[in-house]
C-alpha cells in the first residue's frame, strides 16, 4: 500500500494554526470578558458557538485558547527534542558503562507514569504559567526519543566518515550536528510530531483536571474544566466544541506523523489472499 500524502490533514491543521495565531481579527468578542447576562447560552447568531457557564464567548475562546495549547505543544517538544538529542547522542558515543547508567536512568524516569511526573514537577515550579507548563511537559517527554537517537548514533558512530571527521579534529558537537544529526533527523521528525501531540494532550489533561493552567487562562483543556457545570446544565456545546477542535488537531498531527514515518511493507504478502 503506497502511502498518500495526507492533504486534508495538512490543510485543516494549517487552517487551525493560522486562525489561532491571527486570533485578533477572527474573534467576534473579547474571550476573557464574562458577560454575566448571557451565561450558558446555546450557539446562535450573537454567540456563534454559545457561551460557557461564566458567560464567555466560546467561538472567541477557541482561537485565543488554541494559540496557548499549540504554543505549549510546540515549546515543550522543542525542549524534549533538544534533551533527547543531547542525552541520546552522549549515551550513544559514551563507553558502555556510562551508556548503561544513562539508559538505566532514562528507563527509571520512563517508569514513573507520565502524568504523575508532570504533576510532581509542576508542583516544584509552583503556580502554572504557559512557560512553566511547557518546561514541565518538555522535561517529561524526551525519554522515548532519546532511546531512538541513541540507537541511531550507535549504528552511525563507527562509519568511516565519522572517523574521518574526528581525525581531522572535529569536536563532539561538530560531528553531532554536521554528520550524525542529518542521519537521524527523519526518524526523529516522526517522533517529534507525535511529541507535539502528546504535549498537547498532557497540557489539556492537566488543565482539565485543574492541575495545569487556571480557568482564567484560556486553553482548550481549561475550557473543558468547566465540564461539570456543562453536564449538569446539559450544555453540550461547552463540551463538544473545544473537544472537537482538540481531537481534530491531534488527528491531523497523527496523520502527518504517520506519513513521515515512511512506508513499511513494500513487498507483497506471501499469504496470497489478495487476488
Amino acid at each position: 500500500m503506497k502511502k498518500r500524502f495526507p492533504v486534508l490533514s495538512l490543510v485543516v491543521l494549517t487552517m487551525i494554526v493560522v486562525l489561532c495565531l491571527s486570533f485578533g481579527p477572527v474573534m467576534t468578542k473579547d474571550p476573557l470578558f464574562m458577560d454575566l447576562a448571557h451565561c450558558n447560552e446555546a450557539p446562535g447568531k450573537e454567540f456563534l458557538f454559545g457561551t460557557d457557564s461564566m458567560g464567555r464567548d466560546i467561538f472567541s475562546m477557541i482561537w485565543y485558547g488554541g494559540r496557548i495549547s499549540l504554543t505549549i505543544g510546540f515549546l515543550a517538544t522543542l525542549l524534549s527534542v533538544a534533551l533527547a538529542v543531547l542525552v541520546g547522542s552522549i549515551s550513544g558515543c559514551a563507553p558502555a558503562r556510562a551508556d548503561g547508567v544513562l539508559m538505566r536512568l532514562t528507563d527509571l524516569i520512563l517508569s514513573v507514569p507520565g502524568l504523575l511526573l508532570t504533576v510532581f514537577l509542576q508542583a516544584v515550579f509552583g503556580r502554572a504559567s504557559v512557560y512553566s507548563l511547557s518546561v514541565v511537559i518538555g522535561l517529561t517527554g524526551w525519554m522515548a526519543m532519546a532511546k531512538v537517537v541513541r540507537t541511531e548514533v550507535m549504528q552511525l558512530k563507527n562509519a568511516d566518515y565519522v572517523l574521518a571527521a574526528r581525525c581531522l579534529g572535529g569536536g563532539f558537537f561538530h560531528v553531532l550536528f554536521r554528520h550524525l544529526a542529518p542521519n537521524f533527523f527523519p526518524s526523529l521528525l516522526f517522533m517529534a510530531v507525535m511529541n507535539v501531540r502528546n504535549a498537547i494532550v498532557a497540557e489539556s489533561t492537566l488543565s482539565f483536571l485543574g492541575l495545569g493552567l487556571p480557568v482564567e487562562a484560556v486553553s482548550w483543556g481549561s475550557m473543558l474544566s468547566l465540564s461539570e457545570n456543562a453536564l449538569l446544565s446539559r450544555a453540550w456545546w461547552m463540551l463538544l466544541i473545544p473537544g472537537a477542535f482538540l481531537s481534530g488537531t491531534l488527528l491531523c498531527l497523527t496523520n502527518l506523523g504517520n506519513y513521515m514515518r515512511g512506508s513499511t511493507n513494500k513487498r507483497h504478502s506471501n499469504l496470497g489472499s489478495r487476488k
Binding site: 500500500m1 538505566r104 536512568l105 528507563d107 527509571l108 524516569i109 520512563l110 517508569s111 514513573v112 507514569p113 507520565g114 502524568l115 504523575l116 504533576v119 510532581f120 514537577l121 508542583a123 516544584v124 509552583g126 517527554g141 525519554m143 522515548a144 532511546k147 501531540r197 502528546n198 494532550v201 498532557a202 489539556s204 489533561t205 482539565f208 483536571l209 485543574g210 492541575l211 473543558l224 465540564s227 453536564l231 446539559r234 453540550w236 463540551l239 463538544l240 473537544g243 482538540l246 481531537s247 491531534l250 488527528l251 497523527t254 496523520n255 504517520n258 513499511t264 511493507n265 513487498r267 507483497h268 504478502s269 506471501n270 499469504l271 496470497g272 489472499s273 489478495r274
Partner: protein, 334 residues
C-alpha cells in the same frame, strides 16, 4: 546452565531493588522540593488560627524542619518496616487509605487489561487477514481517530450521551449509595469507565499486532507452507500468529502497568474511588506521603513488568535471547 539461571535471577533482583531505590529517592526529593505547605494539608484552615510558635511546634513534630537526607533516611527506615507514615489529608495510615481503594482500581484496570489483551489480538488478526481491503481500511481509519481522542474527552462524551442524554448508565462512583455489596449495581457503574479504558488503549496495541503479523506474513516460510497446500487462513493462525506471539506477550507485559496505572484520568472524571482519584487529590492538596506511595507503587509495577517482559521473551522465544527484551516495540511514553 542451571547456575547461570540463578545468576540471571539474582542479577534481575539486584536491578529491581536498585531501580526502586533510585525511584524512591527521585520521588522523595521532588515531593519535598515542592513549595506548597504540607502543614495546611494536615491542619487545614486551622493553620491560620495557630500562633507562630504553635506552627513551629507542629512542624517540629511532623519533622518538616530536618534536612532532606535525614527526612529521607527516616522515611526509608519506616518504609522498610512497612510504615509509610500517615496521610496528612486523611489523617490515617497511608497503607489503610490505599488498601481501601486499591481493589476498585485493580478491578477496573484488570478488566480493562484483560479486554484490551483479547480484543487487540482479535482485531489485529482480523485486520492482518483482510490487509488493505475495505474492512481493514475502515477499521484502521476508525482506530486512528479513536486513538487521537484524549481519554478525558472520551469520558466526557460518553457521560454526556449515556448518562445525561439517554440516562441509561450512572455517571459517577463505584456503586449507588447503600448498595455496596450489590454486584449488579457495581457492574453497571463499571461500564462507562471500562469502555474508556479499553477504547483508549485498544487501537495502539491492535495496530502493532496487525503490523507485526504483516511482517510475519512476508517471511519465506509462509511461501513454503502455501506451496505445501495449506490455506491462507491456516498459515496465518497456525504459523504467523505463533511467530508473533512471544513479542505480543512481552509487549503486553510492558502494557500491564500502563493500563492498570493509567486509569487516573478516567477515575477522576467518573469520581471512581480508586488509586487514581487518590493520586489526583493528593497532588491537589500536597499530601506528600500519600502521593509518594502511590507513585512508588505504580513505578515499582512498571519496573517489575519491564523486567518480566525481558525474561518472558527469552523464555519462550529463543530468537529474543540474543536481542533481548521487547526492544523491537516502540516505547509508549505517556
Amino acid at each position: 546452565m542451571k547456575k547461570l539461571y540463578i545468576v540471571t535471577i539474582l542479577h534481575n533482583v539486584g536491578k529491581f531493588v536498585l531501580s526502586v531505590f533510585l525511584l524512591s529517592v527521585l520521588v522523595f526529593t521532588v515531593s519535598r522540593l515542592a513549595p506548597g505547605d504540607p502543614l495546611y494539608a494536615f491542619y487545614g484552615e486551622r493553620v491560620e488560627k495557630m500562633s507562630a510558635a504553635q506552627q513551629e511546634e507542629a512542624r517540629e513534630r511532623l519533622g518538616l524542619h530536618e534536612p532532606l537526607v535525614t527526612q529521607y533516611g527516616r522515611w526509608l527506615r519506616g518504609a522498610v518496616r512497612g510504615d509509610f507514615g500517615i496521610s496528612y489529608q486523611y489523617k490515617r495510615d497511608v497503607k489503610e487509605v490505599i488498601a481501601a481503594r486499591i481493589g476498585n482500581t485493580l478491578l477496573l484496570g484488570g478488566l480493562g487489561f484483560g479486554l484490551t489483551f483479547v480484543l487487540a489480538l482479535f482485531l489485529g488478526l482480523f485486520c492482518a487477514w483482510r490487509e488493505d481491503r475495505a474492512a481493514d481500511r475502515i477499521i484502521c481509519a476508525i482506530g486512528t481517530v479513536t486513538s487521537c481522542i484524549p481519554e478525558f474527552w472520551l469520558s466526557l462524551l460518553l457521560l454526556l450521551v449515556f448518562a445525561v442524554w439517554l440516562g441509561w448508565l450512572p455517571g459517577s462512583g463505584a456503586y449507588s449509595v447503600g448498595k455496596e455489596g450489590d454486584a449488579a449495581d457495581r457492574a453497571v457503574h463499571l461500564v462507562l469507565p471500562l469502555a474508556v479504558v479499553v477504547l483508549g488503549h485498544l487501537w495502539y496495541y491492535a495496530f502493532q499486532v496487525r503490523n507485526r503479523l504483516l511482517e510475519e506474513v512476508r517471511a519465506d516460510y509462509v511461501l513454503l507452507a502455501r506451496m505445501k497446500g495449506l490455506g491462507g487462513r491456516q498459515v496465518l493462525y497456525r504459523h504467523c500468529l505463533r511467530g508473533a506471539m512471544p513479542s505480543y506477550l512481552s509487549m503486553m507485559a510492558v502494557a500491564l502497568p500502563h493500563i492498570l496505572g493509567g486509569t487516573y484520568v478516567v477515575e477522576t472524571v467518573f469520581s471512581y474511588p480508586g488509586i487514581g482519584t487518590l493520586a489526583y487529590e493528593s497532588a491537589r492538596y500536597q499530601d506528600y506521603n500519600l502521593l509518594m506511595v502511590v507513585s512508588l507503587l505504580t513505578g515499582t509495577l512498571v519496573i517489575f513488568c519491564n523486567l518480566l517482559a525481558g525474561s518472558i521473551g527469552g523464555r519462550i522465544d529463543p530468537r529474543m535471547r540474543r536481542h533481548g527484551g521487547a526492544d523491537g516495540w516502540e516505547v509508549k511514553s505517556r
